[in-house]
Subunit: 252 residues, 2 copies
């Protein structure tokens, strides 16, 4: 029998955001690999092997998954959110690219999920209602000069900007530098939203402006959404604030 | 009783991509509104009202949904994909912005879903594994000059570019113009993928290059993914081609 390897997205947190397709794929797997906090969301069925690894070992996990699948097993690698967005699917194909023989006769699939910015946007209103971009601020993966250039061009393009991995203990300052760069192009009153741990018990949402964004707290569990010049705040009932980006851009 | 209005994403097509949260919200609604082809995916439970409308009447549908919710009903508006991405959530908040009294005492929520580019990317490999942007090519909603400027800046930023609404019967030529603009910045061998009707019986995936992209067919049900300069194709077993964008950018 040929092996199978499916990279599966668990969505941002709660089981009610795991698609039935993802759920079915996981339940029929022989072996499930992933970062321990993602595996902790799942319950192994009888006879199923869960193999946890550190979050910084993505390429090693991808190779390990391919090796197990090579032996004819049904293997799942789980990711938070969508596995294709700053997550495990690219690591698996990178492992295949590095050593094509690893993937011989393995049926590789990707099972999509709700990525963090969509859940964050849903809590805030409809900030991604118009053209947008997603940038990972982690400079473990690329030079800061590349990030800076992308932030400038994204701001000039009037994209709504979703920032993934905005800050960690090792690099608390980069998100502040990102706000300084964006402030050279976008107005101080630009809406900025911080969505932390969306869908979890400790979820928090903070809506502020670019001028005040430096005061907000953020970490690796936060997605930051920086509004475009047309992104607006609307007051709902009971003091609720909604943020949306209109579908239309009028002629200048 | 206060009314409720939830804008719900159905994902790209099959029921296995509808989240349990979306499913539960729909099943407890009194009234479900939406474009007829989205409602056709659902089965009304006993006593539930389905109200279909034309896809071009988004703002009218949003107002209608708010009016019904005002009477104390639980109302759902369904969108394909994720409701926050080029879809109904922005229309609802626009309606509230235009007439805040419409939303008095209505509990408005957004329930996220798998947006089309994520499902398209999953079928192709991991093309969105690095920084990316999403642009709607429909110039019903913005001037073509705005689209052109964004395409240029997105290409300069080395974003992978997801194009929503790339072509319709009324505007078959704009996607070709988009490819011409991108070709002034990106190399002819840049990978371009066309993902049509992902998750449906008539799904089709075509992987080609920017030089040959003009020959591919695309319509309103297609998402076009234009690779960044680092996006790569990998040969899998059985002649399968995978496309991915590496997580790393090396120092120049």
């Amino acid at each position: 029998m040929n092996g199978q390897l499916t990279i599966v997205g668990l969505g941002p947190g709660p089981s009610e955001w795991i698609t039935p397709a993802a759920d079915a794929t996981i339940s029929t797997a022989d072996v499930v690999l992933g970062y321990e906090s993602y595996l902790a969301r799942l319950t192994p069925r009888r006879g199923q092997i869960f193999e946890a690894s550190d979050n910084r070992e993505e390429l090693a996990r991808a190779k390990r998954a391919l090796e197990i699948a090579s032996s004819g097993k049904r293997v799942v690698v789980v990711s938070g959110g969508d596995p294709g967005v700053f997550a495990m699917a690219a690591a698996v194909f990178e492992a295949v690219d590095n050593a094509p023989d690893l993937a011989n006769d393995i049926d590789i699939r990707v099972e999509p999920g709700v990525t963090a910015m969509l859940a964050a946007a849903a809590r805030i209103g409809a900030p991604l209602g118009h053209d947008f971009c997603a940038i990972s601020l982690s400079d473990n993966l690329k030079p800061w000069a590349t990030i800076e250039k992308r932030l400038r061009l994204a701001a000039e393009a009037d994209f709504v900007i979703a920032l993934y991995n905005p800050a960690s203990k090792a690099r608390p300052e980069q998100i502040q530098e990102a706000f300084r760069i964006l402030s050279t192009i976008r107005a101080p009153e630009t809406i900025v939203a911080f969505a932390r741990a969306v869908g979890r018990a400790d979820e928090s949402i903070e809506i502020t402006t670019l001028a005040n964004a430096a005061k907000a707290t953020c970490d690796m569990r936060t997605v930051v959404l920086v509004g475009s010049p047309s992104t607006r705040a609307v007051q709902g009932s009971h003091g609720r604030t909604w943020v949306y980006t209109p579908r239309f851009v009028r002629d200048a």
